[in-house]
Symmetry: C2
Subunit: 247 residues, 2 copies
């Protein structure tokens, strides 16, 4: 193949890749908004905003599908080199993480509709909003790290996921206490606990995105990025950490 043709194909691939990356950024932006609006609707008991989040998830799902089709088209059409292929495949993985973050936000918004009809449980809604805010900032940094191929920033995001896990562990104990105090708190606490778990899981998805960035920039996997403390032995009754590597 002539050099000219090679260059032509190469630049064509780069243009395709730019298009795919633009879509990922758009998806990431929608996911960030979904996280914050879901948590805010819970704290402010704003059913209208919760509805907006529930409806908005369809746009994120549509973007993932379009992105996967475009990525498959590019691979089939350009037959990229192993390195370029790795980039395209990493984008497909990232899009599935973002799609799940959208699902989890939607689920939080569904529970908001139910929780609005019950008594608030202490200041847990505010704690959940702070937790969601931290995850949103992590996602924003993870996307920047991807675009700038900034491994240090990606590793920093992975590190910060521990704070989110810690927030979850604290909330888990709070909910348990509220339930033991008064059985009438049980149903609300079950829903709030699910919300906390969903936010903690969003953090895991953001971590997975950051791990993709580390892999792309350095070719190595971040050494067991999601080491979770497990206090099971010392405190078996309260062990929320039990399934933190789940999903």
């Amino acid at each position: 193949m002539s050099d000219e043709l090679t260059n032509h194909i190469a630049s064509a691939f780069d243009r395709d890749l730019e298009g795919i990356q633009a879509q990922i950024m758009k998806m990431g932006g929608l996911a960030e908004v979904a996280i914050m609006q879901a948590a805010t609707s819970l704290e402010t008991r704003d059913e209208e905003l919760a509805q907006k989040v529930r409806r908005g998830d369809a746009a994120i799902d549509a973007l993932e599908e379009a992105l996967n089709e475009e990525a498959a088209r590019v691979i089939a059409l350009r037959a990229p080199t192993a390195t370029d292929l790795r980039v395209v495949l990493s984008v497909m993985r990232m899009s599935s993480n973002l799609e799940r973050i959208g699902d989890l936000s939607k689920n939080i918004a569904k529970r908001t509709g139910v929780l609005i009809q019950m008594q608030p449980i202490g200041s847990t809604a505010a704690s959940l909003r702070r937790m969601a805010r931290e995850v949103e900032l992590m996602l924003s940094d993870a996307l920047d790290a991807y675009i700038q191929r900034d491994e240090a920033l990606a590793l920093d995001v992975i590190e910060r996921d521990r704070d989110v896990d810690q927030m979850y562990n604290t909330l888990f104990r709070e909910f348990l206490t509220f339930m033991l105090e008064d059985p009438r708190n049980i149903t609300a606490c079950m829903h709030l606990h699910f919300i906390a778990k969903n936010i903690e899981r969003m953090g895991d998805h953001v971590t997975a995105i950051s791990e993709q960035v580390v892999f792309l920039t350095s070719g190595r996997k971040p050494e067991e990025a999601r080491v979770k403390e497990d206090r099971t032995s010392s405190d078996a009754r309260l062990s929320p950490e039990l399934d933190q590597d789940g999903e």
Copy 2:
């Protein structure tokens, strides 16, 4: 390119694909075992078996990584046609579903270690084992449907996921009742509820695998395969269905 060369490449791709599909079947087999051993260890309160499940997850994770690397290698090396590419990409998606089923089984096995130290809650452990058994059978059929490109069987598996969701909904209400009856049941029920949720989520992953089969065989997406009843409006206090499209 001469026909001979084309055929040569084609058959080389087919050999690669057979290797990849063999790995997927191996992964699926390990996931099936993990599901059943996790649920059995809970019912029989067998910590040794639970430990086995926790240790066994590493093998499933290793298979996923090997499979993704092999798939990427095949795509880069063989530059498959759009149709062949779709098959390879679907295998990568399926492997990530199987990897998550392994994680969820591991998490159930972790909770088993904790629950063994508590009083059993009615016959819920037996119900959970029956639920897990149903998911295991669905997974076995989904893998057969994939190998035989049997769309009817895949659609049947998708249909059966509704029974699993129904089992989850029933258990959710049981746990709530046990907690309201006696606060001393709360901690055990929180763990058992997580286990029920994990099994329900395994069913969703098996459904996702079946949807891949439908897509491969017919090129069409099964029309919203996971329509869940949502009794929120009629029964807002008990609404486990709330996040069944999550993860």
